[in-house]
Structures are given as structure tokens and as C-alpha cells.
Symmetry: C3
């Protein structure tokens, strides 16, 4: 198996994402991630194993007995949550995932830290965390930092796994995992995740969520993708090129209602105006046709679901919240389960959990 200790950083950095995957696996456990850095590490087999593990953890957590068993798995380990780019939602979800497995945690979660560590390299900071903790869950605006640290730590005298909780504009792998898990769960008893139409709507240009999920969906059979957005925010061509290369059917549209009628899942997204290049750029775009409200709810097939990575503004009306097809709250909670599953798998507890009570 490929090992990070046997490749120079410069050489590793240049590899295409798919070729990096074997280097990020656990030496001791076949087909299991050690470092989790990008969505492209996960193929269909691994996604389905993770979903099964998350299901099992979710079920076990319902009883005190099961919950205590889960907490008994990793009380001897400590995780560091290093969020130099703050995000309470993602932070709390990972925190809860750690707590479910009994991991104790430490954290840095504000931007002020950057000034506090003034003069020290990010690499030294992360090496510091690795001295006190057994896993680093990191969120950073710096593209590639998580990857570099994974290489550095694997080549240090104290290798520990890195879990990327969002790096810059490019990767947020556990968001993609929770999206897939939500789709798998939603269609579990209805024929599974195949032969489906998934519609993406909103700001498809600037959201890493859409990019990752679109990619991961290509792992499943006959998933048609529909991209609904104002022209200025439509899905970038490189995303479509991947779909073309993989022979995936898709459609680019500006008619949300037409898409909703034929969708199994409608994935709404927020206008990401924090990426505006000029002031008020997003505000000048007419987005009123790209919101999901009472009318759209009527058009959605009865087994269809509505998803959203949250936070939302007004792109989904609150009147939809109590509809059983509104899946976004459950989707958020799924994040906690899939992250628990990922961390448990990383530390080698997949089998033990799957066998619990058997």
C-alpha cells in the first residue's frame, strides 16, 4: 500500500486527487481512511460502509446502554478542534461526534488565535496540537494546509490523523458525506439511491457543497442532476466536464418549479455573498425565482425531499419546516452521525460497532 512516509511532499502535492487516496489510508486496516482530506477519497463502497456505520451508531445512541458502549470506545483518546475559520455549526457537530465516542476534546475556535501565534508558522502550531492530542479536526481558510499537515504528521515521530472540517473554498468533505448519507437514508426503504433526479438550486457558482455532492453522486447508478440558478451564479463548467467525462446525465435550467415537479431531491443553497468581489454584487442579482416556498412544496412529488446545508436565509420559507419532506434539520443531525462514524472508522472501531449486540 502507498504510504505518506515514502513520498516527498512536492511529489505528493502534484498528484491528482484520485491518486492521492491510497496514501491517506490506514496502514493497518484496508480501505479505511486515516487522514480525511477531500470528498474524492470516498467511493461508493466506502460511502455505503460509512452510512451503515452511522445508522448503527444512531440506533445505539437511542438507549443508555448503547450510548455508554459508544462512549467506552475512545475515552483514552483526545481530539483537537482547531477552527481558525470559525463556524459554530460545524464545530458543534464535530464536538458532539467526539463526545458520542467518548473522546475528550480541546479547541481553538476564534480568529484571534492567529495573532496570538504571531510569528509562529501554522505548521508549528499544528505540530503543537499533535503533541497533546490524538487527532486534529481542522477548519482553515488556507487551501492545502490540511493536506500538508497530514504529510508532515505522517512523517513525524508522532503521526496522528487529520480530519478536514473545511479548507478554503475547495473542500469540506464531511459536508459531502452527510449529504450523501441523508440521500441514502431518505431512499433506503424506497428502492435506494439510484435512478433519481437531484436538483441543485441557488448559488451554484461559489458553494463547495454543490461541487462535492455533484461529484460523489457520480458513484451511484443513474442519478440525473439538474442545476437551477440565475445565469450569473450557474454551476461552473469544470463541474459539468466531470459529469460529461463520467457519462452522467444533467440539465442546466432557470426554472425551479419545472425541476421540482420531477425531482426526488431538491438541494437548495444560500447566496454566498461573502465571496462578492464588489460591494452589493449579489444583491443586484434577481434571485426571487430561486426560492422554495408554499408553491414549490405543492409541486414536489410526495416521496421527494428538500435539502439545504444551512444556514439558510430566505431561500426556503419557514412554512415548509413542518412538512415531512423537509429534510434539512435531519440532514444537519445526520452530520453528527456520519462524523461519529468516520471518526470511529478512523480509529479502527468499524467492526466492533457493527457487531455490537449481534
Amino acid at each position: 500500500m502507498a504510504k505518506l512516509t515514502e513520498i516527498a511532499w512536492e511529489e505528493f502535492e502534484r498528484l491528482p486527487l484520485e491518486a492521492k487516496r491510497p496514501y491517506l489510508e490506514n496502514d493497518a486496516i484496508p480501505d479505511t481512511p486515516y487522514h480525511t482530506l477531500f470528498a474524492q477519497q470516498f467511493d461508493r463502497g466506502l460511502l455505503e460502509r460509512l452510512a451503515a456505520l452511522a445508522n448503527r451508531i444512531r440506533f445505539m445512541a437511542k438507549s443508555k446502554e448503547g450510548a455508554l458502549y459508544l462512549k467506552s470506545l475512545l475515552p483514552h483518546k483526545r481530539a483537537m478542534l482547531y477552527f481558525s475559520q470559525p463556524s459554530s455549526r460545524t464545530f458543534l457537530s464535530h464536538l458532539a461526534a467526539c463526545q458520542i465516542l467518548g473522546l475528550t476534546t480541546g479547541s481553538v475556535r476564534d480568529a484571534a488565535t492567529s495573532s496570538e501565534f504571531k510569528g509562529e508558522s501554522k505548521e508549528d502550531s499544528i505540530r503543537t496540537f499533535s503533541s497533546y492530542f490524538d487527532m486534529i479536526i481542522m477548519r482553515t481558510p488556507e487551501k492545502g494546509l490540511a493536506e500538508h499537515m497530514a504529510w508532515e504528521l505522517s512523517n513525524s515521530s508522532r503521526p496522528i490523523p487529520i480530519l478536514n472540517a473545511g479548507s478554503g473554498k475547495d473542500q469540506h468533505p464531511t459536508q459531502a458525506l452527510l449529504d450523501i448519507y441523508t440521500l441514502l437514508r431518505s431512499f433506503e426503504t424506497k428502492g435506494g439511491l439510484k435512478d433519481r433526479t437531484v436538483t441543485f438550486c441557488g448559488d451554484l457558482l461559489r458553494g463547495r457543497t454543490v461541487r462535492s455532492l455533484s461529484y460523489l453522486l457520480t458513484n451511484f447508478d443513474n442519478i440525473r442532476q439538474v442545476f437551477v440558478a440565475p445565469q450569473q451564479l450557474q454551476v461552473p463548467t469544470d463541474v459539468l466536464e466531470i459529469l460529461d467525462a463520467k457519462g452522467v446525465k444533467y440539465e442546466v435550467s432557470d426554472d425551479l418549479r419545472a425541476a421540482v415537479k420531477i425531482s426526488d431531491a431538491v438541494y437548495m443553497t444560500r447566496i454566498q455573498d461573502e465571496w462578492d468581489q464588489s460591494k452589493g454584487e449579489s444583491a443586484r442579482i434577481d434571485t426571487h425565482l430561486f426560492k422554495f416556498g408554499a408553491e414549490e412544496l405543492k409541486l414536489l412529488p410526495k416521496d421527494g425531499i428538500i435539502m439545504h446545508p444551512l444556514p439558510r436565509r430566505d431561500e426556503i420559507a419557514t412554512c415548509c419546516d413542518h412538512d415531512p419532506r423537509a429534510m434539512y434539520w435531519r440532514q444537519m443531525r445526520n452530520g453528527m452521525w456520519i462524523r461519529s462514524a468516520l471518526i470511529a472508522m478512523t480509529f479502527g472501531f468499524e467492526k466492533q460497532i457493527m457487531c455490537f449486540g449481534a
Copy 2:
């Protein structure tokens, strides 16, 4: 029993506080709070049950065996401390209460969060926390938010209890509980909390503490209340109207020493200049006669006690700190015990704790 799922928000909101109480109780356990939102939820029976439970917890926590038993009650649950209005003291007290019962915790405790969640409604933020946690302990400057969230969560697919740790100027129920608990403990072996004179002194106009405690004291027999303050900061008339309506004896005065001489408890408060409408408003008030020092200590009856919600400035001289009648440090620690009791009761562990070792 009244249920939050059977009443519309608008209708519930309009009810008088006393009429709201049955809606906030635990479906499964009679006369036990599920959501804790305001002091008016607690009658004498419930206050005495909470005090007994707090006593028991305090006693158990003295031995490692007892402490471990308490920690074994809720290790499968997670509490979220959402403090959008920071307060380290109240935060740490609730945190310790959770830790005593084995609850793991997550937190948001700075104002910066408001900007982080920009564009998201408070309701969505709190719904988010409910995805990852089993109880929300919240402190907010927004009046009525805790109440609205209690209704929202009870009507969601994932109801969890809300504990109000201070909302705006109006309510801070657990502060009132710890005050009552301190009085109950102080007079436990001296005839109990009845036929007593309780003096309030300081800024009686703007402190929610005085308002709540004055109300809760009406639950006990023959408690006379004395309000000592500079004219500009005297107790508001609506507080006195409640006492009138309940036939409670009281006195309004500006003579602290005279009051101290006849008091069983003197409750000192800080001048709350953070509510000043114009700059220096409080500073222009002559408050030098409304401080407790060596002279007042001499006048206090030997079984009398001195209380203060803390933090203090100079309204109690530090020379009083070592006097056995100075109860404010113990009062603060009582907050931890009564909050433990409240949380344990909320999750249905009252009986189990009361029977421990029996």
C-alpha cells in the same frame, strides 16, 4: 395535562405567567418542570422538593462514591450552553452543574457569534443546537426568545428542554431558585423560612433578582419584606402591587441600619449602571448610605445573614467576608447545587437520587 403541542404560539404567548406553568411541565412526571423559563413556575412545594434534592446532591458530592454515582446519571446526554449574552459566572455555574451529573457540554459564549450567524434567524440557530444536544441552557438579551424556542422545540420532531439562564431584563429563574435555596438552608435548623424579615437594599429598580425573589417569597408564611434604596432606585410599584394583592407585609425605607437591626436576611445589590439612560446617571445618585460595612455588621442579629447575587463592587465591604453570617459565597455555590437539582429533575432523576443509599 396542558401540552405545548396543543396550543398555538400566539395563544400561549398571551397567557398570564401562572397560566403558562402547566404547559411547561414534563408529560411523564407530574409537577415537574420540562422547560424552565420563569420564576413563577415554582410554587412552594416544588421549591422545597428542589431544595431537598440539592441538599442530597451536595451531600453525595462530598464522597467519591457519591460523586461517581451522580456522574453516572446523564453521561449519555449532552447539554448546549448558548450564552449570546456573556456571563462567566452563570456560565461556569451551569457548566459545573452539568458536569456533576455527567452531562457532556458544548458552548457558544461570546457576542461575536451573533455576527457569525448573520442572516440566520435565532430560531434556526437554536434549532441547530437542538440537533446535536439534549438540552439547551440559554442566556440572551432578547426578551421572550427562550419562551418562543420552548414552544418551537416542543412542536418539532425533536423536542428537548430549554433552561432559561437569563433573558433580557425580565427573567433569571435559576438565580431566584438559588436565593430561595440559600434562605431555606440558612434557616433549616432554626425554625425554617417563615415569620422572617427580608431586607432588600441597593438598586431595587433595575435588578431582576429582587423582583423574582420578592415574588417567590410570597410562597412562604409571614415573610415581611423591607425595601431600602435611594429614592431614584426604589422598588417599582408593580412589585408592591403583587405584595398587596397577596396580603404580604412590606415597608419602603431609606434607613439601612434601622432595617438591618430587625432583619433575618439582608439582600444587598449592586447599582446596575449598565442600564443608565444618560451618561453618569447612576453616579449622580448618593448611594453612600446603602452599603453594608463594619457598622452594619455590628447591628445585624446573630442569626441574620447577608446575601448578594454578585458580582459586588463596594456595596459590601470586604471586611465582612470572613464573618460567619456572610452568606454570599455559599449562596453562589448553592447556585451550582440547585441547578444540578433542577437539571436532574428535568431528566427524571429526582426519585433515584433521593433514594440513593436508602
Copy 3:
């Protein structure tokens, strides 16, 4: 034995450091610290006991069984980390130490807190923490505060131990402990910590680290100290006066390479420009001869070690990081072990840990 309850604060404050030591010991356990305030509390016997205990804890933590045993020691206790002077590194190291022993923790770790507690004395704040927690680990820019609080708490109705995690410019005792532990470990199988040359290099004027370590080294036999720095940042004369008084051999130099050649340990330090009196003061000093790089690495004896309290800037080149003699990462991790040992000892678990598995 001397007791803090039997001496007035003013009298205690005036004592020389060495004379304060017996007052800070544990009533119940001979020769064991209760409050840890300054490096001068530790003599050679105690340093060696701490190192042995840290070794044992480090070894036990390698197995799940051992780690769980350690976590079973203090789950009934809570520690407060009060960092009014932020330092993520020191914070996380103490946090991890607590977690290793099963202590749950609360924290205040930002400067904003000072304004939050506005109007309250520091003494009242710390007394508050003592209400909810069983130990206070504190870092503060205020010289003498930790000492005063130790006296105050020992004289209160609720005495709990204080651990000084850095107070002003003067004391940071656990940093000195981890440095000594690192030296003891490094020479453990090579004849021990005696007859050695230890070189200090960098900003020797303004670092409390150098001051404390230089002092503690006088406890060991025949340790020669070499101080290498630009003239403006050389070691202060009072440090040298202590060495003179104790008959310790030392040398003051500006030739790093010459010193490296004959050193068993080279202790590099950062230019502490945060203490500059005028803008750019440090930047005007020529420091290029006081950095450790590839050339110095060649000159270092094969059993020699490189230390650094971290964070570093460029005073050690990253090309040294993978050399087996680079001890600074391990040194940092040693901080976690020695702090675990100190806390375990403070709570009376030294014997129990040393006997584990025996």
C-alpha cells in the same frame, strides 16, 4: 509544618521565596506541593519524584487499560483554567493533563473577560471560581496575584489548590519543570543529569524561562552554564549572582558555535520583542549569529540535544526538526506529562500511580 492559615498575608508576602515553600505544602502529605507558585518550591528530590511520576504516567497512557486507570483517579474533581493572559499552548497542555487524570474542566481564556468582570476585584473573581471548581490553574499578567489568591483561598472556608501557569514576567514554574524533566529524560540512560554543559542562547534578558531553569539546574551536580547572546540581551547580573553564590561554573559569551561544540544541551530562545520599550528596539539588534541551523547541527556532539520553549520564529531552522537530537517537540509533550504528574501529586495520587501494576 508551616501553614498559610497561621501567617498574615503581609508577613507571608515579605518572606524570601525559599522560606515560603513550607507554607505551600500539602498538610496531609509530607514534601508535596499543595499550591504551585514558583520554581523555587522544587528541590532535587521533588524534581526527581515528579520526573519518575511523569515517566510512569507516560508509560501507562500508552495502553487503554493504563489510560483508563489514570482517568479513574479524578473524575469527581473539576479544574478551572483561568487564563486572563491568553496562551493556547500552555492552556491546551494543562487541559490535556487534566483530561489524562479524568478531571473535568471549565475555562475563561480571553482578555475580554477582564471587561466582563468590570468593577469586580480579581480576588472576588477567583473566589467565584473556587465555588464551582476544585483546583484553579491560572495565568495572569499580574505579578503576585497567584500568591495572594493561594493565601486567600487557604484562609477561606473552601481552600483549593492554585497552580500558577505563568504570572507576569516573573514566574512560570511548570515550564521550568518540563525543561528539567526533558533534561532528566534525555540523559536518563547516559549517566544522568550531572557533569553537563547547558548553553542558553537568544534573548536571555527578558525570558522568565532561562531565569527559572538556570536556578533549578543548580540543584544538580556540576552543571556548567553558558550564556550566549547579543550584548544588549545578555543574562541579567542577578541570575549570575545566584550562580556565584552557589558556586556554579558559568561562562558569558557571544560565540554560539564554540559553545555548541562543547554542549550537552543547547537551549534556544526567541527574541521577546513584545517587551520592547521603544518601537523596533529588538529589530535593531543584530541577532543573525544567535540562530541554530545546519552548521550548528554539524557541530553539536552526537549525544547533545536542542531545546526550545516554543513558539519559535527563525532561531532554529526547520531543517533541524527531523534530527534525533532536536528535542523541542518532545519537550513540549513532556509538559503535558509533568503537569499530569504535578496535578496527580497535588491531589495525593503519587503513591497509587507509582504502585500501579506492581
